[in-house]
Symmetry: C2
Subunit: 263 residues, 2 copies
Amino acid sequence: MAPRTVAPPPDGHARVRMTVAYDGAPFHGFATNPDVRTVQDDLHEALSKVLRAPISVTCAGRTDRGVHARGQVVSFDADAGHFDAVALTRALNRMLAPEISVRDVALAAPDFDARISCVARSYRYRVLNSAWPDPLVRDLVWHVREPLEIGTMQLAADQILGEHDFTSFSKKNKSKVNETFVRTVDRAQWCRVGNTVQLEITANAFTRQMVRSLVGMFVEVGRGRRRPDEMGEALRAMSRTAVPSPAPPQGLELTRAHYPGDV
Amino acid sequence: MAPRTVAPPPDGHARVRMTVAYDGAPFHGFATNPDVRTVQDDLHEALSKVLRAPISVTCAGRTDRGVHARGQVVSFDADAGHFDAVALTRALNRMLAPEISVRDVALAAPDFDARISCVARSYRYRVLNSAWPDPLVRDLVWHVREPLEIGTMQLAADQILGEHDFTSFSKKNKSKVNETFVRTVDRAQWCRVGNTVQLEITANAFTRQMVRSLVGMFVEVGRGRRRPDEMGEALRAMSRTAVPSPAPPQGLELTRAHYPGDV
């Protein structure tokens, strides 16, 4: 993707970077939608009230319906004269609780844009691999009863590292022409934590439903229904019909958006 | 407490031991109540339907409104002729999901009683000790912003080990005459897991609101508002007015009920 230029804030305004966490369950995804409740609309409403001006945010990753975030980053412009990060965080947290939480608010460079400046995104997917469903974490995991073989799941994950065309693992966006599904995966690591089997995955960007579609395939491998090398075959097939159904959204969480210069 | 005898199952019936997990949020506690939704009533309804006979259960620990469990144990009697633990588990999990989950069903000795046979109970209390509230676990933790000093909390916890009168940390049950608040604490261990500070506590039995009242005090110590040795003073005061408010219910979970012979 070609580098894009970011317009600076209007006169007297400052660019703001804000990190938010949210429970995806009550929202129909991040992106604004006049018909249903979304994270972006809740943010717009709260920010516009607190800052007494219409505010519009851009985000690092437009999470789908039911997907959680602990490290979503948004950017917007605010009147520089009255800007107070601590007071803004406190006021927003009062208005947005308990479904959304503001972790951090800070002034950013005038050319910062949460989406365009973002060089990589990290997601986590949690599978509860246990004989009984756990009511306490039911909204945070995909429950899979059959024992999963994490070794073969990792062999499959190794095959998506680097640059690939993820057409087979993507939901097409009908409104986009010449949509490309080529992405570069930097990390795809499965690990077992107690009775939870979880994937940590980082890429320059993700296509729609990419992580969930990949996890659907990984879990079929872990169950022994597919061989690890079928992951490579599925990538080359360039067709959604070559892969199993996507994993459900509640196991997925946007954990971090990466920017140049972040420590 | 004097040992109590347990009546055997009626002719043709077997005593059953069942371990259940539940999300406390939608329930007004465990104990049956005609006016509100309770765990016990949900269990009675499901068991009576599946086993086609009125079933009544006893439990290891009557958790209060909003308190969770992963290791609650109940016992009841079922027709021995048609008993099938696997089929019963499956049918119950279909009916009780997603708020309640059946972990295990097994035949027990005729003199087994989930409450009377239970020699000890273990609870866990989770405090999220972070600058920002976490929407993903908001129903599983008490969020405390101020940094907690776990060392002084442990010093306070050491003072409740052994047999004590927990009158100061108990909600009286108005319907009980000669209620005693003497209990024996076997373990009270604070540990930090990431940004969560959690207490693991085991006692022969607990009085009403005992863990939450103790946690309310421990957290005041961790915040530096009380000294660790004020825990001993609070115990000796034998008065609820000597202690802070109880911690909220959503941080509490019944993790295990202990029985003789369990491995």
